[in-house]
Every structure is written in structure tokens, then in C-alpha cells.
Symmetry: C2
């Protein structure tokens, strides 16, 4: 059942994608403006279920890669991602039937809408992370056997290239180097695949979920009800799992640096209400990776860790974290497809250098409940 | 008048290319073995004058880029540069009429011979530097208006890409990043051009000159005559200018590090004979850049600075410099096409961060003579 996405749905998408983006994926505000401009020009955009893509048709996902801190300084012209997709269309000698996101997150949930609108093609309702992750091999597409290359890269100047690597780890490594030298960010098209591969490897209906989440928050804001409860209700009924409040407090420290094409850093929150006297430490590499109260992890990748404005429930990306902000830190269990052994090798806490075995968010929380 | 190049000419080429390579361009021994293997398999290779390339035909230069220190650790399979050329042939939908070197230097004078042999095409007698230089915008092709991209890059694993940049400075910057992430070296095809562009922008007959230089040195070695005098005689009659002995002595220090895709460093020579009590300091970035006695420059880019074994006259590349070697340092004036104002902006001493205006080698030497 295709859905037509207009300006209002994009408002909601931007909010929801920033929640599932776990701090990364770039500024949702910028992405929203870009899509809304396209919709005003070309009309609503067709969102299709993965099951609606014919098995043999070509789907080319589109995105941006680089440090979000640089993304918000270099506003896209709007056609770079389209051009990166066209690099692959020329390479294959075949037009894309549809585009789709590689992740959920501010810019990367919205850029494929701009591409779909400008190319006059639909966008597939799903992605390859069900959240945002910092590296390009961190895709269900990769874990379940799709080749990430050929990959098209394009920058705002018009420098571009088509990259082909033997494996998807090298895809990440070389393309990251290119993105850095292209000026810190690159617009990309990768993991081109057939309709049947989409059905087999994508996390389905994550765009709809983002829109639903955003709508729930916005409605709660308008009706002065609790946006957190609204998020919990939506996640509970999804393939994810009910969101858990990890912490409430005031940001007392943020450290961030752009290195090797990523923004890395950490933030410290001083608790209040039931968290009075405690401190939450969250590390990030573009996205939030691990949250600890004292030395005890309370959430870790691949489960989602998102910051929301304590009053409004609006999500805050890692580059938006600032001293003094009063925030709520939310954990959301990741879908089962993200928790397989093969998947945890690619994006579990050990991959990011932490000495922890992965513990499911809901298990950590259950133990805490039982201790109380 | 085409010439057929056999194994013996390649022996000479390797020596001569290492002299004009001014320390860079990779190990001449490795390159020689690769070509000789191809010649044994496919027969002699056709060397043609630039004037023999029809105006509309396509010439695709081939080479290796990266730190020579890594090049000698990662011996090529032999077909990577051919594959990088084929990336561009596919891109243009047109076969190369011929290949050619982008510079004179150990590996980069020989790799195009391997490509020519394997592809069954001739090699054009000329190049774009008349020496070796560390960066890819340092080409007469660039200075006189040829676009360096599309560029094909290939590594020994089979990772590859086609890069297109708006200008040749960005070509160098992005491709260097790719070469680093491809493992420190990449096999490349760039500055694809027409026959008429070859005639207009290449430094002609530098391959023949390398062979002549190598033959002169080898003959002198066999006949126990002075190889330096032989080099001086050959250079005097070329578009370069007579080679000048800058220094004789023993290497007492070498410092080298591989950073950002280059090998950078310096060496210090303690003089003997007429240089007794003096020290020569030579800085290099892949190639020798500037030679000073005390604080006085005695040669600087783009003039050629080459080290030779003091006894045999055999050239020594920057990665071959070792403590205790007894060496002769030779300066060779660069051809006039390399000394235009536009050219000096790209490869004069100031580009490399030195606070000197370019002084011609023969002028420095004339002043020294008149002071004596």
C-alpha cells in the first residue's frame, strides 16, 4: 500500500528520525527544509513497502557521510545525492526503480526523499540500520550479504568518484578517506540491490515508524500530554520494544572533536528527580554508543540511546548537546534482526573498543527493577 | 621513427630513470624485473616519438603513486596499472592508442612498459615532469592545460575507483587520500589526452634520454672510465644542460618517515676531497628537493638533485640512502619548459615551503666559480 508523503509527514519524520538517529545522522532541521522545498516544487513523494518492489528491480540507497559537525556547516545544494545515484545508474546502465535510506537519522532519513522527489521515483519504507551508526559496514545489508559497492560519491564542488572494493569493510575505510578529502562530508549512493535483496535484508517500515514517533511527540506537545509516554506507547507496539527512561538531568560537560571523518566525544549529565546525586556518562562517535551511571552501563550499542529536551520531548543530536541543557536520556531496544551474533560482531560494544559483552537494554533494566 | 625496446635497453633505462628520478619514482630494480619478464613473454616493446601519435588518438599515461618506502615492500602483481588504464578505457568507451609515463623515475619509467607490453600497444617517448616529483599536479600536462581526471586507481587487492575532480590540485589531494587507504600505494591512470595534447604538453624524448644516460654509465663502468663525465657529456647534449658535481662525501645521517602518503626526510653528507670539512644537507619528499652546503643552497627544485654511488656511478634512490654510503651528489639543470613562471608556481622551492626564490643551478654554480 503506497503512502504519499507531504510537508506535514516530513515535519513528523524529522522528529522521529532524530529519535531513532540516537544523536547522529546529521541535523534533522536542515534535512526537513530540503525535502519540504522539493515537495513544494514536485508534489508529494510516494513511500512504498519493501514488498511492493519487484524482485528484479534496482534500488539505490542514498545518504550523506562524514562528521555531522561539518554537515551543519556545509549546507548541501540539494542535488549532490541525486548525482551520486546517477553515477551508479550510469555505471549499471540501468535506472533506479526506487531509492531508500541506509539509516534512520536527521539528514539521512530525509536525503533519500529529496532524491526520490527530484528523480521522480518512490522511496522504500525501510533502511539498513533501524537507527544511525557511524560506519558504512554497519548495515543489515552488509551482514546479510549485499555488496556495498559500486559506490558513488559526490561533493558540493562537483568532485566525484565511483569506488569498488572487495569487501564492505574496505568500502568504509576507503570511502571515509575520500569523504575527508572531499571536504569532510560526501553525498553517497551505495548498497545498490535488487528488490528481492531489499525484502531479505532491510529493516522494514522504519520510515513509517519515524513518522509515527514524530507525530506522537508533536501531538503530545500540542495537547500538553507527556511526549515520553507517547514515545513509549509507539515503540512498545513496534518491532523495537518499549522505550525506557535512562536518566534525567542537566548537561554539565560536553567534549567533542572531529577526527578521521567522525565527530567523537562524550557528555556528562548531573541527575535530578529520581536520579539526584548520580551522573550519566555517554560516549559518542557520531552516534551515542554507551551510557553509564557511574561505572555501570545502563545502555549500549546496538540498543538506541537518545537525548530529548526534558520539557518538550524534542530530540537532541550529538552536535546539539550543550552545557546547561536539561535533558532526558531514553533507551530503546533494537529490533531482533540487529541482535544476531553476526550483527553484534559488526556493531556490538566490543567493536567500538569497550570491554563489555552486549547486554540487552531490557535485561539490564529488569535486573535494576528486581534489585529495587 | 619507432624504436623497439628489449631487455638490454631496459637495463639502461632503469639506471637512467633513477638518475633523472632525483631519488624518487620507486625502486628501479623492481621495475626492471617486471618489464623484462613482460618482454620475455611478449617480445620487444614499441617506443614511439610524440610526433607519431595521431592528433585524435587517445593516450593514457600509467604509473604508481604512494610512498616509495611502501612500494618496495608491496611488490606489484604486474597487472594493476593495466587494470587502472582499462578503468579509463571503459569510462571513455575507447581503447588507448598508447600509454606513457607521467614522470621519470625507477618504477614510474618502467610501469608503462609493462602496461604497453600486456596491452600490446606502444609507449610514447616523453613524460610530464622530465624528472620525478612527489605530487600529481606537478605535471607539464597540468601546467599547459590538460585535465588530469577521470583517473583510475587500482590496488593489489583489486579495490579500485574512478575519480573525477574539478581541478588537478583536488585530483592530487583526493587521490593521495585514496592511495593511503588503499594500503599506501595505488596503481593509477590519469591525464588521459589526445595525440595533439601529448605533442603540445609532454617533455619529449625523456625515455630515450634515460636509456642513453644508463648506457653511458654502464659503458663507463665496463670500460673503467669515469661515469660522471659520461653523464655530463650526455646531459650537455640534451634539452637539460650539463650535470654539475655538487658534493662528494659519506652519509652520516638519514631521517625518513612515511606520512600522508609520502616519504619525507633529510640526509647529511660529510664531505671529502675538495669538500673536506663541509656538510651537505638534502631534504626530500619522495624526491630530493633542496641541497645546501651549510646554509647556502647549491641546488633546488625543479633542478635535479641525484645521488650516485661514488665508485660506480650507480644512482641511489631516497629509500636506498644509508649511513656510511660514499656518494656523489649531482645537479642537473631542468629543461626550459619546466622553468616558466607558471611552472615554478607549481614546483618551485616556495611551493615546498622554502623561503627561497628559485635560482637556476647553472647560475648558482657560475657565481661559485667566479668567487673562487
Amino acid at each position: 500500500m503506497a503512502t504519499w508523503i507531504g510537508e506535514e509527514e516530513i515535519e513528523d519524520l524529522a522528529i522521529g528520525a532524530a529519535i531513532l538517529g540516537t544523536g547522529g545522522g546529521g541535523d534533522p532541521y536542515l534535512g526537513k527544509l530540503m525535502v519540504q522545498k522539493s515537495i513544494r516544487k514536485n508534489g508529494p513523494i510516494k513511500l512504498i513497502d519493501p514488498s511492493e518492489v519487484p524482485d528484479e528491480e534496482l534500488v539505490i540507497p542514498t545518504a550523506m557521510m562524514g562528521a555531522p559537525t561539518i554537515m551543519i556547516e556545509k549546507i548541501p545544494n540539494g542535488d549532490e545525492a541525486l548525482k551520486s545515484m546517477q553515477l551508479l545508474e550510469n555505471h549499471f546502465g540501468k535506472k533506479a526503480f526506487a531509492t531508500m535510506p541506509i539509516e534512520c537519522g536527521g539528514l539521512n532519513s530525509t536525503i533519500p526523499f529529496v532524491v526520490a522527489s527530484e528523480a521522480g521515483i518512490p522511496i522504500v519504507d525501510g533502511d539498513g540500520m533501524g537507527r544511525a551508526f557511524p560506519e558504512l559496514q554497519m548495515e543489515t545489508f552488509n551482514i546479510y550479504g549485499v555488496k556495498g559497492t559500486p559506490m558513488g560519491l559526490y561533493n558540493e564542488r562537483g568532485d566525484h568518484c565511483v569506488l569498488d572494493t572487495l569487501d564492505n569493510d574496505m568500502l568504509e575505510y576507503i570511502s571515509r578517506g575520500i569523504a575527508v578529502r572531499m571536504g569532510g562530508v560526501a553525498h553517497i549512493a551505495d548498497y545498490a540491490m535488487t528488490g528481492s535483496e531489499v525484502k531479505r535484508t532491510a529493516i522494514p517500515n522504519t520510515i513509517s515508524l519515524c513518522i509515527q514517533l514524530g507525530k506522537a511527540v508533536r501531538t503530545a506537545q500540542e495537547q500538553k500530554t507527556d511526549p515520553i509516554k507517547a514515545i513509549q506507547q509507539v515503540t512498545k507496539e513496534s518491532i523495537y520494544g518499549e522505550a525506557i527512561v535512562l536518566f534525567k538531568g542537566k548537561i554539565i560537560d560536553v567534549e567533542r572533536r572531529s577526527t578521521d571523518g567522525f565527530v567523537r566525544g562524550k557528555t556528562v549529565i548531573e541527575g535530578f528527580d529520581e536520579f539526584d546525586g548520580k551522573h550519566l556518562h555517554v560516549d559518542f562517535q557520531n552516534e551515542n554508543l554507551i551510557a553509564k551511571i557511574g561505572s555501570q552501563p545502563v545502555a549500549m550499542v546496538p540498543d538506541l540511546i537518545s537525548f530529548l529536551d526534558l520539557e518538550t520531548g524534542s530530540p537532541i543530536t550529538t552536535e546539539g548537546l550543550k552545557y546547561g541543557f536539561r535533558v532526558l536520556c531514553l533507551g530503546i531496544p533494537t529490533p531482533p534482526i540487529m541482535r544476531s551474533e553476526a550483527a553484534l560482531e559488526v556493531w556490538g560494544p566490543r567493536y567500538f573498543g569497550y570491554e563489555y559483552d552486549y547486554q540487552r537494554l531490557e535485561d539490564i533494566h529488569k535486573r535494576k527493577e528486581s534489585v529495587r
